[in-house]
């Protein structure tokens, strides 16, 4: 079995997530070739074939050109699977490649089961097993689901290029907002999720954070709704934290939230839903109404 792995490169750097693709290919027991729109100066530590296009010519985000490049490498390699990380780069490009080849795409793979791929669904509460109808397919793997594997060595580089305008123009990057709180250094974080119900309840969560001597964190919907500032958001599009104690109040445990806090030493989750996926990684899942439990806990802690 052969895979064509699509590496990732942004703002002049090879992204570490690229190595998760090797971790996946190893579990699949597949041969590999890689394609990267990147640069000579940032080659992956990999001894196989590398189709390399120059990002300064083909752009870092230029999906039409990148698709052309991938289709060219597919012609040469004839892989069974073309594999991306399920990231802003991968979920944008993978369906374009799949549509051009008219093959199935399987998104956000977390496991392999009897000839099929296991993917999350229903907000990570459930799983599906999916099988491409033909032997071929485009796959995206869930970020963080597979081990980082550095095969080592230097690639046999085959330079490729694409030309043409493409249907969109990339104007540039905008830096992330400046953070007024560095949650990365916090030892205790108490985070508010949508389960707290309304903005007026934020002080209740903040009070527990204060009583424990920690900082306030938040899930994305709480930030999007304007209940808490973005600088407190934990997750893939917020901050990555690893405190001694993380208390998740009314947070379901979506993968993008878990990615930001799963390295915490000790996790307590308060959720009225016993099946909430946060229970998968919590050391303690308290099945309760957050607005009843948290004030009661704060009162005892403060004493």
């Amino acid at each position: 079995m052969k895979t064509l792995l699509i590496g990732e490169y942004r703002e002049g750097k090879l992204l570490d997530s690229t190595y998760e693709l090797f971790g996946f290919a190893a579990q699949l027991g597949a041969d590999t070739a890689m394609l990267l729109v990147g640069s000579d100066a940032q080659l992956p530590a990999y001894g196989g074939t590398l189709y390399l296009a120059d990002a300064s010519v083909c752009g870092e985000y230029s999906p039409d050109l990148h698709k052309q490049l991938i289709l060219e490498a597919v012609q040469k390699e004839n892989p069974d699977y073309i594999v991306f990380v399920h990231s802003s780069y991968g979920w944008d490009l993978a369906p374009r490649v799949a549509a051009s080849l008219k093959v199935a795409q399987v998104s956000e793979i977390v496991g392999l089961v009897d000839g099929g791929f296991e993917v999350g669904c229903c907000n990570a509460k459930m799983r599906r097993t999916v099988k491409p109808a033909s032997g071929r397919g485009v796959l995206t793997i869930q970020a963080g689901a597979y081990p980082v594997l550095q095969p080592g060595g230097s690639p046999a580089v085959q330079k490729i290029t694409a030309a043409g305008g493409g249907s969109l123009e990339f104007v540039g990057y905008e830096a992330a907002e400046k953070k007024d709180v560095d949650l990365g250094k916090a030892e205790i974080i108490v985070s508010a999720g949508r389960g707290i119900g309304k903005k007026d309840n934020v002080p209740v969560i903040l009070a527990l954070a204060k009583a424990l001597g920690g900082e306030l964190g938040a899930s994305r919907p709480v930030v999007d709704a304007g209940w808490v500032e973005h600088s407190h958001q934990v997750g893939t599009t917020g901050q990555t934290v690893s405190p001694k104690l993380y208390v998740a109040c009314g947070i379901s445990g979506a993968i993008q939230h878990l990615a930001g806090m799963k390295k915490s030493d000790f996790i307590i989750a308060i959720n009225k839903d016993k099946d909430a996926p946060i229970g998968e990684i919590a050391d303690v899942l308290v099945v309760a109404d957050v607005m009843q439990f948290v004030p009661a806990l704060t009162a005892k802690v403060a004493r």
Partner: protein, 258 residues
Amino acid sequence: MKLLVCIKQVPDLESRFKPDAAGVWYNETDLAFRMNEYDEYAVEQAVQLREKLGEGTELTVLSIGPDRVVEAIKKALAMGCDNAVHIQDTAVSAKDPWQIASIISTYVQGKNFDLIFTGMQSQDRGSAQVGVTVAEQLGFACTTTIVGFDYADGTVTAKRELEGGIKGVVKLKTPALVTCQLGLNVPRYPTLPNIMKAKRKEITAIPVADLLTADLLATTTSFHPPAKKGGGIVLEGDVGELVDKVIAILKDKTAVLR
């Protein structure tokens, strides 16, 4: 200008999910359905553009599914869409993203839509494929995961959200399709007068058989809960007792309380 927004109706995700008889999707009994969260942002953005452009612009909302999806369609109409298309399909859950996209593309073909809005992903299936695939099938320019949107003179300027809070600014010429991310705007709640007004808006029903030409590219062979990793303790019961137990655990297992 002609605008289209595609919405999916999904179950309330706080529900308990059980496999259906075939064991390949959820059993719908006892589930409450609502509009996919990502699609609410798509509808809001389309309505805002519709309001900005005023007369001469038409905004259609489209949903594929059984009769229950009309509820979600009505919400979109009450939010400000002009008219609707309900593609009737009682077997929508058995279709793969390629087929769903093909149905939408077949409907769109020849109707001169300028701009299509979709959610970045559906919350139940979460494939993040349908929008991009529609664009690819139609040859529309496309960008994904937008958290900023502006339109002027045939050009969309969109901000894509990347990992870590970085954004990428992109310009696309219409015809174009964008997939909308959480936080793009603040979706409105339909007001009572607008809910009443929406009752008079037209919903065109089309049987899916009229639009489906594509074959399945992928099949689902199982729907099941994740294997329990275990390890964690689950505490249930009286709040007072729960607090005492958690305090004891904090003292015992962490250095947070002494």
